[in-house]
């Protein structure tokens, strides 16, 4: 088992003919992911290294039965690409695009919620998702992910920061700990998938025995996750929050302060997680070491 994606996931790459789409799409395929089609308007009928390219997502889905999409298109085109995939019946969409205006993200997210409630968007501005040995969608270097062991214990990873997602994978690989699924939810203002969405799935997934969570300063997603953990997560967890020594951003206006009510600092997030029973490390390596202790206890 794994969460969201596995060996049966069939992926199309929107933007397969572009630089990022081609590079990462082919890497995903080389990893063993079922990359069944690419979509680039106007390039239908061509192929990229044997992967057929279609003009529209609908065409690609009809021809291949794809159920997931990897959106690797520029910021101006990303919102339309996400909605096109949802309308074509794709139920899992990973968008790695960085630099999408927040207003576009908010509209796109709420359009999905209102019109396509069964569609899950991961990202934007995220590294993607990998269920090691089964499926890799996005920009994660597959070789740094340790495949889960049949006997366990295996760890689920959920992270808000791209490079720290790899760091977490790497910490576990160094220690020979298997990973069920690693989800990079991205750090943009309106992420399609939240910590809580992933924690709920990991809690339900029989192949996941413990969970690492990587957060960072800003917003209140970690505090909300802590509340959820307290009430719903029984699997042991370790965590790391980046930004203890980060320079304070200029605060402007009062709206932010009124909404956050003091939330958002690294210390506040760590305290909230500790209070929920999570073991919190001072750096990613320490969070990895804490997870190694947890896993040793489960063996």
């Amino acid at each position: 088992m794994a969460i969201f994606v596995d060996q049966n996931t069939k992926v199309i790459v929107q933007g397969l003919t572009g630089g990022q789409g081609k590079y990462h799409g082919l890497r995903n395929k080389a990893y063993g992911t079922q990359v069944v089609a690419g979509v680039t308007p106007g390039k239908g009928g061509t192929d990229v290294d044997g992967i057929p390219v279609f003009d529209t997502v609908a065409d690609a889905v009809r021809a291949t039965g794809a159920n997931a999409s990897f959106v690797a298109v520029p910021p101006k085109a990303a919102s339309a690409a996400i909605l096109e995939a949802a309308e074509a019946g794709v139920t899992f969409i990973v968008c790695i695009t960085e630099g999408i205006p927040a207003q576009d993200e908010a509209r796109t997210y709420n359009t999905l919620v209102n019109k396509h409630p069964n569609v899950r968007l991961l990202g934007p501005n995220c590294p993607g998702i990998i269920s090691p040995g089964k499926c890799n969608i996005g920009i994660t270097a597959g070789e740094i992910a340790q495949a889960p062991s049949a006997s366990g214990p295996n760890v689920g990873i959920v992270s808000r920061s791209g490079t720290l997602t790899y760091q977490a994978l790497y910490e576990l690989k160094q220690r020979g700990i298997g990973v069920s699924t690693c989800v990079g939810i991205g750090g943009d203002p309106v992420p399609g998938t939240s910590f809580i969405d992933c924690l709920r799935e990991f809690q339900a997934d029989p192949e996941t025995h413990a969970i690492i969570m990587i957060g960072e300063i800003g917003g209140s997603a970690e505090e909300e996750a802590a509340e959820f953990i307290k009430a719903n997560v029984t699997k042991p967890m370790s965590a790391y929050i980046a930004g203890v020594t980060a320079p304070a951003g200029k605060k402007m206006g009062h709206a932010g302060a009124i909404v956050s009510g003091g939330k958002g600092t690294a210390q506040g997030k760590m305290d909230a997680l500790r209070d929920a029973g999570v073991r919190v490390g001072q750096n990613p390596t320490e969070a990895g070491a804490l997870m190694a202790e947890i896993v040793a206890g489960l063996r």
Partner: protein, 381 residues
């Protein structure tokens, strides 16, 4: 990007939000000229991006040209909490009957727009929020639905805005929401939103923060970017297209991804060092970006060592390595580099570095983030 008050007011004016007649002045003579045009009495307001201007003496009322000269003369050049006042906004003083508060922002938790509206505006709004939260209406808006005139009026009623001001407030809310959405603001805030004795509702202040990701569709933002106050290092970084924040420490930091950059700062701090900067070379760092990043760090005289922390996803190890080799040809680096390179094509990258003929006194490679931080901090002492 945070706007100065005067820029915020000019931005509001684009969306027909009523603001006071006024203008910007860099000198005493300009201030007088603006005042004559706006009509006395006028308010002379320091333009700095920091709260507490009024208490610091940066906001003064002037009834004639002589008073404008005195106040503008005092305020221009004043230091307010470390911010040098380079210009003042001079506007016709408004008679105030009542003060309200209105803002639009994105509520990340709810993933919806958030309207905040209160009949108790003015400088102490955060205090109102803490002591009497019921006095502030918090209303979510579905971005796919928006805010129409009827919904705005209903919000004004619900926020207990007095009846005589409800229509005026509702009109401004609709315009402010357009400014927030079409204008790609992260924040559009009016505090205070005033009711004049004559019955008009009017924005007396403007706090606008723009979403940098949307700059491609706002060519008019170029003039705002020109007034952003950066130190020399930050200026250079901006020209090179880098996410850079200057700090006061001795270990120069280059990392890919904001999270890893923050984490790098944390680890340097944890092993007893201090970071000279925050620098995120981003997801797709190539040779040019890396060379630019090293140039920026090299321009910081305090830097004693440079810690490059790269974990490759989109960023490929060989590109990073080529960038470093290239930069070391272009710039005479004053400080030694400690690098930790992992992830996509990391081995290729390490090989390129090892075979580039760079002496170990200038570049060392460490396998983990912690060891690299320790080495960099040791070199900086």
């Amino acid at each position: 990007m945070d706007l100065f008050e005067y820029q915020g007011k000019q931005y509001f004016a684009r969306f027909d939000i009523p603001v006071s007649a006024g203008g910007i002045a860099h000198t005493v003579d300009e201030a007088v000229a603006v005042a004559e045009k706006a009509g006395y009495p006028v308010v002379v307001k320091a333009q700095v991006q920091v709260g507490g201007r009024g208490k610091a003496g940066g906001i003064k009322l002037a009834n004639n040209a002589d008073e404008v000269r005195t106040h503008a003369g005092n305020i221009i050049g004043m230091d307010i909490k470390g911010h040098l006042v380079k210009r003042v906004w001079v506007e016709h003083a408004s008679d105030i009957a009542e003060e309200y508060y209105a803002s639009f922002t994105l509520d990340r938790a709810a993933k919806k727009h958030l309207l905040m509206l209160s009949a108790e505006g003015g400088v102490e709004i955060e205090e109102v929020a803490a002591k009497n939260p019921a006095a502030i209406l918090l209303q979510h808006i579905d971005p796919t639905v928006g805010l129409d005139a009827a919904a705005a009026k209903a919000a004004a009623v619900k926020a207990r805005i007095p009846e005589k001001a409800q229509q005026g407030v509702a009109d401004i809310l609709v315009k402010l929401y357009r400014c927030f959405t079409e204008g790609d603001c992260d924040l559009a805030e009016i505090n205070p939103l005033i009711l004049k004795p004559t019955g008009e509702v009017h924005a007396l202040d403007a706090k606008v923060s723009l979403d940098g990701n949307a700059d491609y569709r706002h060519p008019e933002w170029a003039e705002y970017a020109a007034t952003v106050e950066l130190d020399a290092r930050e200026q250079l970084a901006r020209e090179k297209g880098l996410q850079y924040i200057g700090l006061d420490g001795t270990v120069g930091i280059i990392a890919n991804g904001a999270g890893l950059a923050m984490s790098t700062l944390d680890v340097v701090n944890q092993v007893g060092g201090t970071a000279a900067n925050f620098l995120d070379i981003g997801g797709g760092a190539n040779a040019d970006l890396m060379a630019g990043a090293l140039e920026v760090i090299n321009s910081d005289q305090k830097v004693k060592s440079i810690f490059i922390n790269i974990f490759g996803g989109i960023t490929r190890g060989e590109e990073v390595a080529n960038g470093i080799v290239e930069a070391m040809k272009r710039v005479e680096l004053r400080a030694p580099i400690v690098i930790r390179l992992d992830g996509t094509n990391a081995e290729q990258g390490r090989e390129i570095l090892a075979n580039a003929g760079i002496p170990e006194s200038k570049l060392t490679s460490k396998p983990t983030m912690l060891e690299a931080a320790q080495a960099a901090v040791a070199l900086a002492k």
